[in-house]
Symmetry: C2
Subunit: 233 residues, 2 copies
DNA sequence: CGGCTGCTTGATCGCTCTCAAATGGGGTGG
DNA sequence: CCACCCCATTTGAGAGCGATCAAGCAGCCG
């Protein structure tokens, strides 16, 4: 068994080494290879997860069959935490979009941990709270902005979250289709495709099959803020 | 000083009487009459609140001046909890839409309480988590449903949250303008007005200046679910 | 009673969805 | 290594929902 490395994860901030060890001892590591699901919408919720490695897509399907992407989970983020607020089933599907590893706890033991180490509950509150404000921001965008702005913002967020410097710009380091981007921004793959085509012609981005490189993030900001100040040559 | 009644509030569930007393002793009661604000967007965030009496509207304004209504706060709900996740300023305005009274704590003392009584942090986590799932649900609606459905759902939620039986139906017991409903559902007062006019002609609702009575909630459900099954005579 | 604020209603415009079809890249199996 | 097939993407045409612009109307409060 490998020695337990101090998890540089916000959920565990301000914990003493010994309590951290205690908490991690109660966790079960869950690996998932790319393309497999941690859980699916409708499954009974048994565990909550923290992502240690890889990237996870959280998506929801409506009764009418519309899909939306709730978010992409990165390192150290919680997912499947519906347990914490009384959910019996997962309201969404968590899909590994790259090879992943997560730590998981079941409800009872996580609650026990929070009671023993209140700091965990406080940190969790902080994480969930940030997610809430992020969601509100996206809600506001959806309610008040046009598609182009929303797509620009989504790309900028993804760059911040999962951007990797490459020649010519910043690559989003996991497979991202037009469909995904559409479901993330509340539009259709068609509209996304059109928008990206324009941007590609203007040299703003470079894109391929499930791959996007942002060449001029600054210009994207102009579009997101609707400054009209971006003048392609 | 009046004797402290056990607060029948979810944040305090499973607390012993003495700890409850301790927590409430640290709180400062804040009354606000109808029309006044608890705080405004951009104010430095100093306190978080729990509503004991009345109804509070949380709304946000974008840089371009678009307004949205984030939610209406009812009895026992938290608001202004941006403090808990690292906000320096309130991201929204909290307006009393009826005469209100809230309890408030400043950040430091609330954190101290959570450390002393982990149950509070766990309960807060539950409350914030539920808000998150509510927000996600609304996001999904906005992304996938037409305006009419969204307005129907919004009204149904408001009925559940603040409905009062009156002759002929259920009244939403605080002033609610078309503009408010529009900002709550991501549309304009014009569109809301048109929709409500139709519903009123069909006898589904009865409405006046900042006042709405739902006569046939069941029909509204049909509309919300897009069942088309509602056939006015 | 007058003015203000909220509500109604009409007309038009345009963003974005929908439907349809063609194109192309990449991975897999032979 | 190559060919094929599938899936992602592109692009066009058209329609429609809902925003925007523009008046006019009606409660309500001072």
């Amino acid at each position: 068994m490998p020695p337990i490395i101090v998890e540089n994860v916000r959920l565990f901030q301000s914990l003493t080494a010994s309590s951290l060890q205690d908490v991690i001892a109660a966790a079960e590591p869950v690996p998932r290879e790319k393309g497999r699901a941690f859980f699916r919408q409708g499954d009974t919720a048994r565990k909550l997860f923290i992502l240690r490695q890889g990237r996870v897509k959280i998506s929801q399907t409506t009764a009418e069959g519309h899909q939306i992407v709730v978010r992409y989970v990165g390192f150290g983020e919680l997912f499947g935490c519906v347990l914490l607020y009384g959910g019996r089933e997962y309201p969404a599907t968590a899909l590994a979009v790259s090879d992943c590893e997560a730590l998981s706890w079941d409800h009872a033991s996580f609650v026990k941990m929070m009671e023993r180490y209140p700091r965990i509950a406080i940190n969790a509150l902080e994480l969930v709270g940030e997610e809430l404000s992020g969601m509100r921001a996206r809600y506001q965008e959806l309610a008040t902005e046009r598609v182009e702005q929303r797509v620009a913002r989504a790309l900028l967020r993804l760059v911040r979250q999962a951007g990797k410097k490459v020649e010519g710009g910043v690559l989003i380091e996991f497979p991202l289709s037009r469909q995904d981007l559409g479901e993330l921004t509340g539009t259709t793959l068609h509209t996304v495709s059109r928008i990206l085509s324009v941007w590609e012609n203007e040299g703003l981005i470079q894109s391929g099959r499930k791959k996007i490189i942002i060449c001029h993030p600054h210009e994207l900001v102009s579009i997101a803020e609707d400054l009209e100040a971006h003048h392609p040559k």
